[in-house]
């Protein structure tokens, strides 16, 4: 039996600067994953943090990380050739099977695009499996948008709706929170929605989507919680009787609303 | 000749902040001002009206070095005042604590503060660069003594097991065994330390003064005894009749005189008053031609080194007598009363004196060793520097600092505590 607490020591292959506070780390490993799953990333001496897998390929995984604390700040100072530890992948991932043959709406806020990127890339590769596809992405400022260099390619496969809270020089697109773009979505029915972002954004977007007629059972959210073990033992991520690490991080809005202890992400929705 | 003023703004390698001004004119030292410019902390003021069971907690915070001594003196005063019984065993354990904390304090002073003066190093850090082993040894002794104090006191600084009446926790035979074992391990190191410090060349300066220490006529007591000076013997309770305190305008620390005379307390005073050193310690000292009583001020350091050996032996004997201690309740017999606790702190005699009404302290007087010594320091300096008036400022400064440091003054202590009416 392999010790699930023991990380695999792996080198960083490449570091890609995304924005002023976010970098993508390409980690050399052969782990296989489903879009939406995450790994526990160790920086020895600094601790562990759950990080979504934002992409992967032959012998590597991408982790897109925003520097907010101990582990994340430290890894931002690391370079190709440095070693980190990873455990995983953990979590259920996005319900892609369910979305096949349907319309797909992807809603991301800020760093929330990271766990959704593998979905977007899947769509690009297997466009024929879905009907209409829309990616709705909001960031605080244009300079904080992730993966801008990919947008041109993604646009070929889906409707790309972008918005920022505060414009900067040269920004010609939409300004406003994500919810202000929701009426631009061209498909209403038969749509699976995948959403990840700050709690407040998920909450208001859920409300607006429900108003627009998207049924809660077809809206999926990825929750963020404090996690120490990733395997449902340490207890920190528990919310309303489920473990976000093991039963999630992706839950249908319908289910999240029925948790006894309502997650903050959906508090007020349907009230 | 024009008047010369030599000033040391801040004397380093002593505990606390103090300055020194020497005024020289006509080939003589006119005035020496040993000023303490730390702000006052008013311990005696706010300790007033506190309940008896918190007093030792507060007085333990008077100084960061002699916490053990302050707590024990304070508890002793409380116990005396309120008639709290202390089992003999607890008394002995307290003595053991005092001994390990004494050695700790002496070693700190000898290696870290005094030694650099005698080997022409700027600091212990510089010594560490050339002689790592020596510094390691010093740390090893410190660590061992701290460990011993902590065995009995919970921790070495601000012990947390002392309460009026005894201790809060069980002190097991294993802990006592460990204490003894550690002390045995330590003993050769203390002898080596004495060897080192007895060889040093100390300033030859001699001076007559009163020496004051606890005295019991058979040992070098730390915990119990009468107060004896060169010319008087009196009980702890009578201290007020003999030790008179006063304030000088240039210093925030109070001073005191014994029957109008300045006096010295501390290691040298202890050995001068109590000619009862253990044979091993005595022989060691004599090997280097050092004998007590002595009038040489700088021999304070030598006395400390000899004391270490003496007390280590003393502790080993004591530890054999001590039994396991079981905590027990011993409530005060009365809530009003007056009590004095005098013990020997590493730097010398320490007196706590409380009066209680209804379990609350109404009158508090604490006299710390450094407060007792300051007048003596000043006068010693004056005498010593008088022989050096023609030397350069640098030499005078250095010699002055040597003398001051020999006393191992603890300035913070002397300021924190001042008498209330």
């Amino acid at each position: 039996m392999r010790n699930p607490y023991l990380p695999e020591v792996v080198p960083i292959r490449e570091v890609i600067e995304e924005t002023c506070d976010t970098k993508t780390f390409r980690i050399a490993t052969h782990l296989l994953f489903n879009p939406g799953q995450f790994v526990e990333l160790s920086v020895f001496g600094y601790g562990e943090a759950p990080i979504s897998i934002s992409g992967g390929g032959d012998g590597y995984l991408d982790l897109t990380i925003r520097a907010v604390g101990n582990v994340t700040n430290r890894i931002h100072r690391m370079k190709a050739g440095d070693y980190v530890g990873i455990r995983g992948p953990f979590g259920n991932g996005w319900p892609l099977e369910k979305a096949k043959g349907k319309n797909l709406l992807i809603v991301a806020g800020g760093i929330g695009l990271a766990p959704l990127k593998p979905v977007v890339e899947y769509v690009c590769r297997h466009r024929e499996e879905f009907k209409m596809v829309t990616l709705l992405y909001g960031a605080r400022r244009p300079s904080l948008m992730l993966f801008k260099y990919k947008f041109r390619e993604w646009e070929k496969f889906m409707d790309l709706l972008l918005t920022v809270d505060e414009p900067e020089e040269g920004w010609k697109g939409h300004v406003g929170v994500v919810t202000t773009l929701c009426d631009k979505i061209k498909h209403r029915s038969d749509t699976i929605t995948l959403m990840c972002g700050p709690p407040i954004m998920m909450k208001y977007t859920s409300m607006v989507l429900i108003e627009l007629g998207f049924p809660p059972s077809e809206i999926y959210l990825s929750l963020e919680r404090n996690m120490k073990c990733g395997i449902g033992i340490c207890g920190h991520c528990a919310v309303g009787g489920v473990y976000v690490c093991r039963d999630g991080p992706v839950f249908s809005l319908n289910k999240a609303l029925r948790f006894i202890e309502k997650p903050h992400e959906v508090q007020g929705v349907l009230d | 000749m024009a008047e010369r003023r030599i000033r040391i703004g801040e004397i380093t390698k002593i505990e606390g902040h103090a300055n020194l001004t020497v005024e020289i004119g006509d080939h003589e030292v006119k005035r020496v001002i040993f000023g303490v410019h730390e702000g006052s902390r008013y311990f005696e003021a706010f300790m007033k009206n506190r309940p008896y069971y918190y007093l030792h907690e507060l007085s333990g915070r008077i100084c960061g070095i002699c916490t053990v001594a302050h707590e024990i003196a304070s508890i002793k005063a409380v116990e005396r005042a309120l008639g709290i019984d202390v089992p003999d065993n607890a008394r002995r354990i307290r003595e053991l604590m005092l001994i390990s904390s004494h050695i700790q304090s002496h070693v700190l002073h000898l290696y870290f503060l005094a030694l650099p003066d005698y080997v022409n190093a700027e600091s212990i850090i510089e010594i560490a660069k050339n002689n790592r082993e020596l510094v390691k040894k010093a740390f090893r002794i410190k660590e061992a003594t701290n460990y011993m104090t902590a065995l009995l006191g919970g921790r070495a600084v601000q012990p947390c097991t002392l309460v009026p009446g005894g201790f809060t926790k069980r002190i097991t035979s294993t802990e006592l065994e460990n204490y003894k074992k550690k002390m045995k391990e330590l003993y050769p190191l203390l002898v080596e330390t004495a060897d080192l410090f007895l060889q040093l060349e100390y300033p030859e300066f001699e001076r007559d003064c009163e020496y004051v220490a606890l005295w019991d006529g058979k040992s070098v007591p730390l915990y119990d005894g009468k107060i004896k000076s060169t010319h008087h013997i009196f009980s702890e309770e009578e201290y007020e009749e003999h030790l008179k305190e006063y304030v000088v305008e240039y210093s925030s620390a109070k001073r005191s005189l014994i029957d109008g005379q300045d006096y010295m307390v501390g290691a040298l005073a202890r050995l001068n008053i109590n000619p009862y050193l253990k044979d091993e310690a005595k022989e060691l000292a004599e090997k280097y031609g050092i004998k007590f009583p002595s009038r040489k001020v700088a021999w304070i350091n030598a006395a400390q080194a000899v004391e270490n050996v003496h007390y280590a032996l003393e502790a080993l004997e004591l530890a054999d007598e001590v039994e396991e201690y079981e905590p027990r309740k011993s409530p005060p017999k009365n809530l009003d009363g007056d009590g004095v606790g005098a013990i020997e702190a590493p730097r010398g005699l320490l007196i706590h004196h409380y009066s209680f009404k209804n379990g609350k302290a109404k009158k508090i007087n604490i006299i710390t060793p450094t407060a007792m010594n300051t007048e003596n320091i000043e006068r010693s300096l004056k005498d010593h520097l008088s022989n050096l008036v023609d030397e350069s400022d640098e030499v005078i400064k250095m010699e002055a600092e040597k003398i001051i440091r020999a006393y191992d003054p603890c300035i913070s202590c002397s300021v924190h505590v001042v008498r209330t009416r």
């Binding site: - | 390698k13 008013y42 003021a45 700190l108 212990i124 919970g154 210093s251 925030s252």
Partner: protein, 233 residues
């Protein structure tokens, strides 16, 4: 002072740090420094100025011990009226006293090591964190947590006045493990439910005075308001 009590570790430590300014152990004192550890709290104007200078000359300023981080025992003097305090010098103090305050009353403080004495383990943790560039965080839980981890019995249950439930952990429950109730030398933590604990103590039969005494002992500066509230009640 406690620095020298690091003993074994200190020589190890010197490999990574140079001590520039350590008045007690060393004579020549230099500025600027990377880390300044300040113990105690200013007691006169000169010291305030010195503190400001230290702040200016140092990258990181650490408040070491109770006095520096919460005001500690000396702050007890703030319970008195000025006149009473000055009585100590028979009414003629060499200088008008200033109120002891925590260092952050005067300057920005980067880190605090609470406790009287502060915990060696925490000091090592802080230094390590600074060296390797990790965030050192104040403990946001009670002494009870550490008491429970040591699995020794609870003194409050035995009827002693223990401030553990509202006192910031980090000391590894040293006092309580030695049979002495916690006197709150580390001050309250942010989340502490102080009023509820006071109620517990009163319900246990302690008098208001006893509770106030205990609260003011080490952290008068931090409990001032609660004590005032308790007096009112």
């Amino acid at each position: 002072m406690e620095f020298l009590n690091l003993e074994a570790q200190i020589l190890d430590l010197l490999k990574y740090l140079g001590i520039k300014n350590f008045r007690l152990a060393k004579e020549i004192n230099e500025m600027p420094v990377d880390i300044a550890f300040v113990e105690g709290t200013p007691t006169n104007r000169e010291e305030i100025i010195k503190l400001l200078k230290i702040r200016k000359g140092s990258h990181i300023l650490v408040a070491l011990g109770s006095c520096a981080s919460t005001g500690g025992v000396p702050a007890l003097v703030n319970t008195l009226r000025k006149r009473e305090a000055m009585d100590v010098y028979d009414g003629e103090p060499p200088e008008i006293p200033i109120d002891p305050k925590p260092l952050d009353y005067y300057v920005d403080v980067d880190y605090r090591l609470y406790g009287c004495p502060f915990s060696k383990d925490e000091l090592i943790e802080l230094i390590t964190d600074i060296i390797i560039g990790k965030n050192y965080r104040d403990k946001e839980y009670s002494v009870c947590v550490e008491c429970s981890l040591r699995e020794n019995g609870c003194l409050l249950e035995q009827g002693l006045l223990c401030l553990g439930p509202i006192t910031r952990g980090g000391c590894n429950a040293l006092c309580t493990a030695n049979g002495k109730p916690c006197l709150g030398c580390r001050g309250p933590y942010e989340d502490a439910n102080i009023k509820a604990h006071i109620k517990v103590l009163l319900d246990m039969g302690f008098s208001k005075e006893e509770v106030m005494e205990a609260l003011s002992l080490f952290s008068y500066e931090k409990f001032k308001e609660v004590i005032a509230w308790l007096k009112e009640e």
